[in-house]
């Protein structure tokens, strides 16, 4: 297929004007090619006999494709592949232009004239300058990584990031689980807590509960269990809250778009502190239906997976009420902030030995302070009091939990 124009890339062979066996001479028109400009007759630059066609009529082929074989007079037929057909780029492509010794440069501008007095010794991009000014960073203390050693925006940012990293970190970084992104988590917590405080009218109630019965029951239960299966009082607390939710659905559901929808299921969110400063409260699904040992096992699993960063999406999105405890840390009472769109959070403090009146006599009893932070748009103190009392009552009968 001959090249007929600077912008011709392919052509369609529409007609042969000769047939195999015909004799042709230099300049004879032998075919018609359809191009974007119309049908153009093409000539042969070889003389000889047409041997065979290599391209079907009406096929579109790129420029340079052999179209036919023309055998010159006296040319013997080779045993193998046919001789290069005419009208094709038989000669090898001309050698590629040699690479010039010095590669072509963009016309270089003369180097900047010697810096006149008063010109800056420091190269700082406008963006970097602005950021440094905003944050009070001394530019002379920064090493630039931009062109010609210029200080760029990211250089100033990096300086700011290093300063931020000096803030107190509770735990050494090496304990951090590989998939946990605490920075993102804190940002999310901050957003949620701020929103909660902005939008939810919290009210707070406190209830002190004698849990001596629980402790005795647990001691007895755990005596027969291996250490890693022993029940903790936290499990009893969780179950009690979950069961109380069944009787008081106003504390177990979601407040969205100006209305409250109670949840059929009770998925208690378990607040879990993560070493390094994180906090999350994934759901223990259907806590009200779980047997205690099952609940305990699942709680252990949840905590372990949380700290390893392997929480499931549903565990994050499903809690209908949250239970939080800082008893281990020695806090007697804690007043939590509700996780929207939930409407309540129950807090458990430390179990403390206190003087208590039982049957008219003062004696030492194990007492825990339970708090309720609840959404006043959904419930009021009266309901909250009843809810808390119910939890306390349930804890008096651990066998029924």
């Amino acid at each position: 297929m001959p090249s007929l124009g600077a912008d011709m890339e392919a052509g369609t062979l529409v007609e042969w004007l000769v047939k195999p066996g015909d004799k042709v001479k230099h300049g004879d028109i032998i075919a018609v090619v359809e191009t974007q400009k119309g049908a153009i007759e093409i000539e042969t630059f070889q003389a000889g006999q047409v041997e065979k066609f290599l391209v079907e009529v009406n096929s579109k082929v790129p420029v340079g494709t052999p179209l036919a074989v023309i055998r010159a007079e006296g040319e013997a037929k080779p045993a193998a592949a046919p001789a290069p057909p005419p009208g094709t780029p038989a000669a090898p492509k001309a050698a590629a232009p040699p690479v010039a010794p010095p590669p072509m440069q963009v016309p270089p501008r003369a180097p900047s004239p010697p810096i006149a007095p008063g010109a800056p010794a420091l190269r700082v991009s406008p963006a970097a300058r602005q950021l440094a000014a905003q944050r009070g960073i001394d530019l002379s203390t920064i090493t630039g990584t931009g062109p010609q050693g210029a200080i760029t925006y990211t250089d100033v940012e990096a300086r700011l990031g290093a300063a931020g990293a000096a803030a107190p970190a509770a735990a050494p970084a090496k304990k951090r689980a590989p998939t946990l992104n605490l920075d993102a988590m804190r940002v999310a917590i901050a957003a949620a807590m701020a929103r909660s405080k902005r939008e939810i009218p919290h009210y707070y109630l406190t209830h002190q509960v004698d849990v001596t019965v629980c402790e005795q029951w647990l001691a007895q239960k755990n005596a027969a269990l291996p250490p890693d299966s022993r029940l903790l009082i936290g499990a009893l607390a969780l179950k009690a809250v979950a069961l109380a939710c069944r009787r008081f659905p106003a504390f177990n559901g979601f407040y969205r778009e100006n209305r409250y929808v109670p949840s059929e299921a009770v998925h208690t969110g378990v607040a879990i502190a993560i070493r390094g400063g994180g906090l999350t409260a994934p759901a223990l699904h259907d806590a009200d239906k779980l047997a205690l040992d099952d609940l305990m096992a699942r709680m252990r699993d949840l905590i372990q997976r949380t700290r390893a960063g392997r929480i499931r999406g549903s565990e994050m999105s499903d809690p209908t009420i949250t239970v939080t405890s800082l008893g281990e840390r020695g806090v007697e009472a804690l007043y939590g902030i509700i996780y929207p769109p939930q409407v309540a959070i129950v807090g458990f403090g430390k179990v403390v030995m206190r003087p208590w009146v039982v049957d008219g006599a003062i004696g030492p009893r194990s007492v825990v302070t339970i708090t309720l932070s609840a959404d006043h748009r959904v419930t009021d103190g009266h309901a909250g009091a009843l809810f808390l009392a119910e939890i306390g009552t349930l804890l008096q009968e651990p066998n029924n939990l």
């Binding site: 501008r109 900047s112 004239p113 006149a116 008063g118 010109a119 800056p120 190269r123 700082v124 210029a150």
Partner: protein
């Protein structure tokens, strides 16, 4: 002015007269030189630049042409290729568009296309600019367009020395040189050394030394810019004024040295701002003096409108000293 010298004799002269003397000088001292254009002979030149030259040199050296811009510009090209040194006068840049094909496709390209076998040592002079209420078709400033083309050189003499001295150097140049004379400058009067002669056509000139801001300008806008600089001095702002003198090739070194000192630039250009000389200079400053800048580069150019006829509109359409002052003050944060 940088050319203050202790010459014994200076003369009072107009820009127009300076150009005429340059032509006279060239014709007298170089037998290859002749002037060709519409009404340069009997009429004495549209702007009276060549008045009296026909009588002095005769019709062979001062040649009136028919209204055939393309034809006689091409003829100038041919004559230059054959070894003469013609000065083609296109009455104004507005009419040069009729000769654009010859300028761009012949004059600018012959050396390259012929592999350096033929050059075109031609000088084309044109009047340019607005300010005389001549309306849209007679008020263009297209120096920037021509400065876009590789193969030619573009000059904008704004001072008496340059009007007097650039022509000879341009005529000796082996490549095509376009000289733009702003129409508002012809009547300008001033002092010139009596023996003022050829000047270079390569460098920009610092017309006023300053430290707070660099004005970069050329041609008719130079004087408005100097006026603005005086006004600013009264407000405690010392502006440096650079006269580009040569629009192609641009003298980057002079520009960047100034920016290094002042860290601020305003470019004053009578062309429309889009794709103008100002745009080119601004970009070069970004490329070469980015780290020195304290503020974005400013431009004072003609408004994006064909030049209107009534005086108040025409004045508002093209750069004025007040606009230049305003631009500088804004850049320095002093409204």
């Amino acid at each position: 002015m940088q050319q203050e010298t202790a010459r014994a004799e200076t003369i009072e002269i107009t820009y127009r007269e300076a150009v005429k003397q340059a032509i006279r000088d060239a014709i007298k001292h170089d037998e290859r030189v002749f002037l060709m254009g519409e009404d340069v002979g009997r009429y004495g030149g549209c702007y009276a630049v060549s008045k009296g030259l026909l009588a002095e040199f005769g019709p062979e050296r001062i040649r009136d042409t028919p209204l055939s811009e393309s034809g006689f510009t091409g003829a100038g090209i041919g004559a230059a290729m054959a070894g003469l040194r013609p000065i083609v006068e296109l009455m104004t840049v507005n009419f040069s568009l009729l000769a654009l094909d010859q300028i761009m496709n012949t004059a600018a390209t012959v050396r390259h296309m012929s592999g350096n076998q033929f050059g075109v040592p031609l000088v084309i002079r044109m009047a340019t600019g607005a300010g005389r209420q001549l309306a849209a078709q007679h008020s263009h400033s297209l120096e920037g367009w021509y400065a876009h083309i590789p193969g030619i050189k573009v000059l904008a003499p704004a001072t008496l020395e340059d009007a007097r001295g650039m022509l000879w150097t341009a005529l000796q140049d082996p490549d095509p040189v376009l000289i733009f004379e702003n129409v508002m400058l012809y009547n300008m009067t001033g002092k010139l050394a009596a023996d003022a002669g050829a000047v270079d056509i390569e460098k920009a000139a610092v017309r006023r030394v300053g430290r707070d801001i660099s004005f970069i300008t050329y041609g008719g806008s130079l004087w408005k810019t100097l006026e603005a600089a005086e006004t600013l001095a009264g407000a405690g702002i010392e502006a440096e004024v650079i006269d580009l003198r040569v629009l192609r090739p641009l003298d980057d070194a002079t520009i960047m040295a100034s920016i290094a000192k002042t860290r601020r630039a305003v470019i004053v250009d009578e062309g429309w701002r889009s794709g103008s000389v100002a745009a080119e200079v601004g970009m070069r400053i970004v490329e070469q003096a980015f780290w020195s800048l304290d503020a974005p580069i400013g431009r004072v150019c003609s408004e994006e409108v064909p030049i209107p006829y009534p005086a108040h509109l025409e004045n508002a359409a093209i750069p004025q000293a007040e606009k230049i002052v305003t631009a500088a003050k804004a850049m320095l944060g002093k409204a």
